[in-house]
């Protein structure tokens, strides 16, 4: 959940792929899950729950990494869809890009730092989901991700916040004029 700098080795650089807006990068149930560095464009990850509803887990604009870290960390099949909201260039890498014996100290420190900040963002997200009303969560979203507001449709922001699109619409009109 944080703009990061990753040190890409030559071998990972070769795994660059292009995707059109709307194309899906990863479907659920796939094993040997990958992570994706968004070089250009915008992607999102989401689940479809038992009642068929979409829930957006995160957005990834250029410079971010997106992937099912749960599946990667625990060697499970992924449940996340990942697709592109804009035409995108994506570098695909696997668990080894995060930690293996060939990575040097500098790269590892960078990765620890990246993951620490991501845990921090997730901590905030959990606390907000539990303790704050929808209007406050939206205001926090505006602070943290000001660039996304004009790139992502409102119904997707609502999905990210865990509320219905109608509720977000109401919140916005209440914020505009009281």
């Amino acid at each position: 959940m944080e703009k990061i700098e990753i040190i890409l080795s030559q071998e990972t650089k070769s795994n660059l792929k292009k995707f059109k807006k709307g194309e899906t990068i990863q479907f659920p149930k796939s094993t040997n899950t990958h992570a994706f560095y968004i070089k250009k464009g915008l992607a999102r990850s989401f689940i479809i729950d038992g009642t068929g509803k979409e829930h957006i887990y995160m957005f990834a604009p250029e410079g971010w990494i997106i992937g099912d870290i749960e599946a990667i960390g625990y060697d499970q099949a992924t449940e996340l869809f990942i697709d592109c909201l804009e035409d995108s260039e994506v570098i695909i890498f696997n668990k080894d890009g995060l930690f293996n014996e060939r990575l040097d100290q500098k790269q590892l420190i960078e990765n620890v730092s990246l993951l620490t900040r991501r845990v921090g963002r997730l901590q905030r997200r959990v606390l907000m989901l539990m303790g704050s009303p929808a209007a406050d969560r939206y205001k926090y979203f505006l602070e943290i991700y000001p660039d996304l507001i004009n790139r992502v449709p409102q119904k997707m922001i609502a999905s990210y916040l865990g509320i219905a699109p109608q509720t977000l619409s109401t919140i916005r009109s209440q914020m505009a004029r009281p």
Copy 2:
């Protein structure tokens, strides 16, 4: 959110402290935030929201690390309380224990791995909070943390799940005889 093995250097080993049940390890507003390795006992972290309500962010039984990773990662003052639910032995360390130039490759790989699994658990938590009803969240809690059920009062489990204690009580009685 995962039982982990950390490689404790000699210098961190000296920072062992003992706390009685009910004692607070960390108050909000403190800067230069630390992380805490629970060697023995049980701790929890929580916030108090704008309306005075407690929300438990996580539990840490022996072998776990607990701390305000958001505050550590972004050099902010912490908002989290951390206190002990049992008499505990705690090793206190700071950001440097996670990543600095003196840590060797093996330790760093261990830390990346630890953080990856914690991100995984948090991912699951976020997805559950957004997409699953309270009863399902409780069932998942029982699966993942079976040891905590007998060590933590129900009202705290409810707080962790983001529901009222009465709601958890109702869910439990419905699960018992449907």
